[in-house]
Amino acid sequence: MGTTTAGMFFIASLIIALALAYRPLGDYMGRVYSSTTHSRPERLIYRLLGVHPEAEQSWGGYARALLAFSAVSVLAVYGLQRLQDRLPLSLGLPPVTDHIAWNTAISFVTNTNWQSYSGESTMGHLTQMAALAVQNFVSAAVGMSVAIALVRGFARARSGTVGNFWVDLVRGVLRVLLPIAFVGALVLVAGGLVQNLSAPHEVTTLTGGTQAVTGGPVASQEVIKELGTNGGGFYNVNSAHPFENAVPWTNWLQIFLILVIPFSLTRTFGRLVGQLRQGYAILAVMGVLALAGVLLTNVFELSGGATVPQAVGAAMEGKEVRFGVSNSATFGAATTLTSTGAVNSFHDSYTPFGGMMTMFNMMLGEVAPGGVGSGLYGMLVLAVITVFVAGLMVGRTPEYLGKKIRAREIKLASLYFLVTPVLVLVGTACAMGSAEQRASMLNTGPHGLSEILYAFTSASNNNGSAFAGLTVNTPWYDVALGLCMAFGRFVPIILVLALAGSLAAQSPVPESAGTLPTYRPQFVGMVVGVTLILVALTFLPALALGPIAEGLS
């Protein structure tokens, strides 16, 4: 079987697996978030937190609870890193420096998992488990809860509330993420991933030198890293490390885990709004964009556009031999199409256009299918903007799922759309405008520009993957990227919750022949078109001077 055929088989089998999981998982999540009963552990948690699980929150209350929870999380993660030398299982590592600790705290709480450090030589086991892995669960659950709140906004009529943040958070962790992660971790261990609490092993290398090989609770962290679209690796080289990603089928499983919740959430959406076909339409938009992203990345990598790959026969630089070009490209596309940011190969070494695809995937706003929860709410906001323009063209006040898109809704949706591009472009411009920050580039010319553009794109979109090459563990980058991550996560969340509140309060308009149908291929095509055009128009100048200039030279 040729490389290309194998790669296509890999992609096709992923699609089939995702399709099989789609209905059961989507319906299950729908039941989770609309259930009225509470399990015993959940009751215990509510009692400890002092919340009434039956009490519903307005969008403002929901947002305040979410922000308060996230603020406490940032402090906890920061504290555990700074105090790790005085806590158990530190492996003798010193406290993490202040700017890295701050950056990491923001990074994991915002579901970004940008890492300006190498995991194995910076974080002890306790920090990895109690700070980072816990955030891998809760930050993912936060994203899902926001998406569910927005879906409730569409589903409810004349309602002042959008749900209860604490209930959504706890259910997301206990009923969705933990069970899947538990099974997934066991499977990954079977695939050869390590899972222990040992201190580093000293081994003698072939050349006679010694090397410390760090084990740790890798498999348990790995599974939620992908499932929660987090992406923060236990090891510096992330999923390229054999202890994190041992063999081709663990690679396959990791990609599956990355994509399964974001795609299935569209089924949950269809269930909760009572029109499955609306969920399918959103799924179709995500599917078209994702498939295009994956295939184009594969095409660019397999055709190896640049000089060196052509000379050596394949674009293998920065890729693992055990995965090969195609499976690395597919992983690269999946990780940037979602807000995962895990890597099994180095995007910096991709062909110029392949590297551009990873950037473009993120610039889409990570909506195809995007992060857990964040992908769905991002896509719904894009659908709202599309409905607005398209709805005008059918001669009615635009409405989506029976809710009118009026000045307030379009204001929130527009602001949502503004936040990330502004952070990316302003951040990149600030870095590029300063000779000192440019010094962090590994390469010069358009490729160096791409490194910086990638860093800000990744941070602002809460992806967390790195182009590599760029030295980012400096105070300036830690602070700047940390701010991008924080604003890129929480400003959109507040806007989405406000949108949810404003939609929930409306009374729905009944559907008629004059209503724009939002479940037909026509609408799917429009959302794809609007997304591509808006993103292309926003980022074309920057891309032209980075990857496009490099690729066309």
């Binding site: 903007i385 607005f388 323009v389 398209a390 709805g391 005008l392 063209m393 059918v394 001669g395 009615r396 006040t397 029976g402 009026r406 000045a407 809704e409 379009i410 204001k411 527009s414 602001l415 759309f417 503004l418 591009p421 502004v422 472009l425 302003v426 990149t428 411009a429 600030c430 590029m432 405008g433 010069t444 358009p446 520009l449 009374s507 729905p508 308009v509 009944p510 008629s512 022949a513 004059g514 209503t515 724009l516 149908p517 037909r520 026509q522 055009i533 292309a536 128009l537 926003t538 980022f539 074309l540 100048p541 920057a542 032209a544 001077l545 496009i548 200039a549 690729g551 066309l552 030279s553």
Partner: protein, 704 residues
């Protein structure tokens, strides 16, 4: 509710909700106004064009400091872009101004004869019309101008309302009933009336009309506000995209030290002139320039159809209407029932019945009576006899007591009328009312018709079937409405049986029979609770609550001032069918906005392909591959993009004023069509346009 004054069949509409033609002269006439609008404070409300103006001012400074043909050409075209936008708005307003001037003539300094005591029409004092207060009573005689809006409380008069409606035929205004409303500025032609003034000083109907058609105090409509927000957001995005490009450009120039400076790019990055050009080309100037013109023109299209919308909000709501309440009489059916069949009892020939029916109706001046005569002539060739021909005929007029009419001639007595009354008359004369006639009567009633029994003394001859006649073309229109997703509900005072028959014949979706004003109000509220927007027409005072409750309430100009006050539109032609056109205009308004927004955004793709390679191909020659239009030089590429951007505004002014063509169809079909024309067209058009402009301007000095 009364019958409308102007009985009109549904007008033939060929161009649908088309619009007036654009007169090129109008553009030139609007130029001074357009120049006035260059004032920054005037432009401040339009963020997109404000950014263009600031950019134009900035390039002017740059061109003065470092003059070149290129810089001045760009500067000139940037100013023209702003000017063209103003021109669009001024032209739209100009059309209203002409209308306002005509209206002002009606606002002469009329004097009023104010009664000291409303009950005593002999004592008055003469004051200026402007001093009239609400509740004053004035007396107006033939030849005088009515000094203010109000209701006739005493008398009847014919009034010339041409100043407002443009209709020269006089109309009757009388106290009581639904034709009591009079408008200030109109002229009494005959008789004398006493009018109770209902307007506040300075807030007369004509005052409001003038303000409306001039577009003064024009409030942005909800949709316009929402669209403005989106446009502002896009402007911010492109502002950020162009400004943040600068450090990247400086860096790119820095790492390619061998490349010579160009008019587009030097060591300080992209030159100011080119940067502003790129920004102006990217921000949605097309829709930004035309947005307010579209709104004004939408109102104006209504005015041209003799409908006054009291707010733009109402026009927009018309596009959203999902339930249309239509009065049966005058809207769906012609005003009156008409004879549709003569059904004889056994033993009577049809022509025998027809002859008797005609005879009994000759002196019957009601429309029903006339229709019987006409039907007898059309179907049975019976010559219409004049009542005078039958010299010794004794005509028996209809009375509420007898409930029948007829004639006694040559010893023959013929009667026609309500079934029970005529049957009784037959029985009283010793005849016996055939059971068969009873069945016929019941059959006609059951089918929704009105039976009139015709009889001779002692003998029933047969039954006349009177039915409501649905106006021509109504069924097609309601089918269209259904395709547009609008539910039509017929309102009638008839019994449910009759109502259902007519509803079925006309093809409306639903009906409300035996409707009282309260029923109507309840129906509207129920529809609105379901999230539907409701439109209706009305003219009577008892319609006022429903008019006020409905989202689009169109009051007939012939109606009472209470009705006109309650509705948010007034139809000067008093044609209830016009509601359908109003809905179309409302939709057209939104479609035009959406189509031009799509066009505007789609345009940007080509502009990037023109400007990005023009600026950066010098440092990265590979980027020349993006120059797919093969534009001749960087300068001509940038200038061509800017010129195209400006010219497309002018080219689209007629479309903005006329509105995008609208044909009733389902949302999906409409969207497909508009997407092809304005989406795909918007992508392709600038590629062609910019290339053509480039071919023309490449020969100019300073373009290479």
């Amino acid at each position: 509710m009364s019958t409308s004054a102007l009985e009109e069949p549904a007008p033939e509409r060929d161009g649908r909700a088309g619009g007036g033609l654009l007169d090129p002269q109008q553009l030139i006439r609007s130029l001074p106004d357009a120049l006035k609008k260059l004032h920054p404070f005037a432009l401040w409300r339009n963020p997109v064009m404000f950014v263009v103006e600031v950019g134009a001012a900035f390039t002017t400074v740059l061109a003065v400091l470092d003059p070149s043909v290129f810089a001045w050409a760009i500067t000139a075209w940037l100013w023209l872009t702003v000017l063209f936008a103003n021109l669009a708005e001024a032209t739209a307003e100009g059309r209203g101004k002409a209308q306002a001037a005509t209206l002002r003539k009606a606002k002469t300094d009329a004097v009023a004869r104010r009664l000291a005591d409303p009950a005593d029409p002999t004592r008055w004092d003469v004051i200026r019309a402007a001093e009239l207060r609400q509740g004053d009573h004035v007396i107006v005689e033939a030849g005088e101008t009515i000094p203010g809006d109000g209701d006739v409380v005493e008398g009847i008069a014919s009034v010339d309302e041409s100043a407002i409606t443009g209709e020269s035929a006089p109309v009757i205004r009388e106290s009581g009933g639904d034709r009591s409303g009079v408008t200030g500025g109109t002229k009494v032609l005959s008789d004398r009336i006493i009018v109770a003034i209902t307007q506040k000083p300075g807030e007369s109907f004509v005052d409001r009309m003038i303000a409306l058609v001039e577009g003064a105090n024009r409030q942005k409509t909800p949709n316009e506000i929402a669209l403005n927000i989106l446009l502002a957001a896009l402007t911010v995005i492109f502002l950020v995209a162009t400004v943040t490009m600068q450090p990247l450009a400086i860096y790119s120039k820095l790492v390619n030290p061998g490349v010579a400076d160009s008019p587009a790019l030097n060591a300080d990055g992209v030159t100011g002139v080119v940067l502003v050009s790129l920004l102006v080309c990217l921000i949605p100037t097309t829709i930004g320039a035309l947005l307010s013109a579209i709104g004004i023109a939408g109102m104006d299209r209504l005015v041209q159809r003799n409908v006054l919308a009291m707010s733009g909000r109402a026009v927009e709501a018309a596009g959203d209407v999902s339930t249309l309440l239509l009065d049966k009489t005058g809207t769906i059916t012609l005003g009156n029932r008409q004879a549709a069949a003569f059904v004889p009892v056994r033993g009577v020939t049809p022509s025998e019945l027809a002859e008797a029916a005609q005879l009994s109706s000759l002196a019957d001046d009601t429309p029903e009576g006339r229709s019987i005569v006409v039907f007898a002539k059309q179907r049975f060739g019976l010559r219409e006899r004049q009542p005078g021909e039958l010299a010794h005929a004794e005509w028996v007029p209809f009375s509420a007591q007898t409930r029948m009419s007829g004639v006694n001639v040559d010893g023959r007595e013929v009667r026609k009328g309500a079934a029970t009354a005529v049957m009784k008359w037959v029985r009283d004369a010793g005849g016996h009312a055939a059971e068969e006639a009873g069945h016929l009567v019941d059959g006609i009633s059951a089918s929704g018709g009105t039976p009139l029994v015709v009889a001779e003394r002692g003998r029933v001859l047969g039954v006349i079937h009177l039915k409501d006649v649905v106006k021509a073309g109504m069924r097609e229109r309601f089918d269209e409405m259904r395709r547009m997703g609008i539910r039509t509900v017929m309102i009638t005072g008839d019994n449910p049986l009759t109502a259902k028959a007519i509803a079925d014949e006309a093809g409306v979706d639903d009906f409300l029979a035996e409707a009282t004003p309260e029923d109507k109000l309840t129906l509207i509220k129920r529809e609105q609770e379901g999230g539907r927007l409701v439109a209706m027409t009305g003219d009577g005072t008892n319609d006022a609550p429903a008019l006020a409750q409905s989202d689009v309430g169109v009051a007939m100009n012939t109606g009472t001032s209470a009705a006109k006050e309650a509705g948010n539109m007034v139809d000067l032609d008093s044609n209830p069918t016009k509601l359908i056109e109003i809905v179309e205009i409302g939709k057209q308004l939104l479609i035009t906005r959406g189509a031009l927004t799509t066009f505007s955004i789609a345009n940007d793709i080509a502009k990037y392909f023109a400007i990005i390679p023009a600026v950066f191909a010098a440092v990265y020659p590979g980027l020349d591959a993006l120059n797919i239009m093969r534009l001749s030089s960087p300068q001509s590429a940038v200038l061509a993009a800017v010129i195209f951007n400006a010219l497309v505004i002018v080219a689209l002014i007629p479309l903005a004023l006329r509105g995008v063509r609208y044909r009733p169809s389902s949302a999906s079909k409409l969207l497909s069509r508009n997407l092809y024309v304005y989406g795909l067209g918007g992508v392709v058009a600038p590629f062609v346009g910019i290339k053509v402009i480039d071919l023309l301007i490449q020969l100019l000095p300073g373009m290479s």
